[in-house]
Symmetry: C2
Subunit: 243 residues, 2 copies
DNA sequence: ACAAGTGTACTTGTATACAAGTATTATAAA
DNA sequence: TTTATAATACTTGTATACAAGTACACTTGT
């Protein structure tokens, strides 16, 4: 696939991905960033031409995005739904729901290995902050929560996560890129929230866990404004870590 | 698509479905019923030959089933995961999770229209019981819960439901077919549980709701045994409503 | 001017063809 | 007998071809 200039999705995350996955990731970023606006109707043929690939991977990508609720497959074309403030809140509703569920399981388990793993990820996050690497930070942030969720070995909760993850990832990626440039001081707080989370797991403190989760989620308030700024940054050609 | 003899999925539910959807539904039923055993490796070519269709709809179906966690797409072939007792419990964990969430929203809403709708569905269920129509009963049962979930207008909770629904539907379908034949007396209790549920929504009684939900879910204990019996019934050629 | 009908340029769904890669099996050598 | 290698058959991923259906614009008749 010969991608046009200016990819939004980090290329190195696609090392062994299929063309269909690449298209899905890139399209997802363009939709969530607002580069492709809500209401737009996408045609398989046009997309295939744009990405210079055949319709097969495009179809695959569209089905993926449809399952993620950011497009709607209709008779004639796929209409873009995207993310409004409402949808972002809904995503965090679901995250709160499943992470609370996971915590209830965790308090009945031995969490030493998990805490160790999370500490490692936290260190990585700190390094990413230090070197102002938004993409790496986003990756570790998502990995942090995924690690917690995976630890209870619940395949259907994991399924929910897997459905949410790509959209989350894109959203966080765009949001973090803006904040590294405009609100760098936020990261001390974000790191701190995650440390609280680890502490809650270590001490199995339900209240602390809820507190850190809420802090974490409050931190994404104004998420849509971040996306909007991300869109403006793109227009100015700033903030893309890959070319 | 020229289906081979003995379809498990009700044909009339597929009136305007694509070939890919048909294959997905039928394959899902065969997997959940145990007709295709856990660990089996499915090949696109073999499936295409079996169903007498091309690989395109087969690929589509496999991706669908993979998102539902009942198969796992690997390098060479799709391996069947299926449903064990553990997975069924996990599905009900998730249902409990989201239906509880929905209820919390419902108690803050006007539920008159919803209660009316649910009453209608309940009447339909009673008729289905009376005429021993397992497929129709299953349909209304699934619709009952879907109606409740849709009522709060939460797109990401609905997304979870949509991912769960096909597997639920298949499971309920198979389970009900067995019970209509072997445990017909169960249905008085099932109907009663649903009436309790409606009552809980009408009176916004959180405890009653949880009680009826648990009753409802306790009712599916031994789910895997039902599937096993369903499998035995199939071997004897009984219990298929369509030919 | 306006309504009805027709043609055309799109749309998706399915089938088929081709390419690249992997496991397995058979063969040959030690 | 065992091991290494090569041929083969089967796998998925992608591209392309074709069919059926839909929307829209244009033409034609009134």
């Amino acid at each position: 696939m010969h991608m046009p200039n200016g990819l939004l999705y980090p290329e190195k995350w696609l090392s062994k991905a299929s063309t269909g996955d690449r298209v899905a990731c890139e399209l997802r970023m363009r939709i969530i960033s607002g580069m492709i606006k809500r209401g737009t109707v996408l045609s398989e043929n046009k997309l295939a031409a744009d990405f210079a690939v055949s319709r097969s991977p495009i179809r695959e990508a569209l089905r993926t995005l449809s399952a993620e609720n950011i497009i709607r497959l209709e008779r004639m074309g796929a209409v873009v739904v995207g993310l409004t403030e409402k949808e972002i809140e809904e995503i965090y509703d679901v995250r709160l729901l499943i992470e609370s569920f996971v915590f209830e399981r965790l308090v009945k388990m031995d969490t030493d290995a998990l805490v160790m793993e999370l500490s490692k990820i936290l260190e990585m996050m700190k390094v990413a902050v230090k070197y102002r690497d938004a993409d790496e930070f986003s990756y570790q942030d998502v990995l942090f929560h995924e690690t917690i969720i995976r630890s209870i070995g619940h395949s259907y909760v994991l399924m929910i996560w897997n459905n949410l993850k790509p959209v989350m990832e894109s959203f966080i990626l765009l949001s973090m890129r803006v904040r590294f440039q405009e609100k760098y001081e936020d990261f001390a707080r974000i790191i701190n929230n995650h440390e609280l989370y680890v502490e809650a797991i270590k001490t199995k403190d339900r209240n602390l866990m809820l507190k850190s989760l809420h802090l974490n989620f409050d931190d994404v308030q104004g998420g849509v404004e971040d996306l909007w700024r991300s869109q403006q940054m793109l227009a100015k050609g700033v903030g893309q870590q890959n070319e």
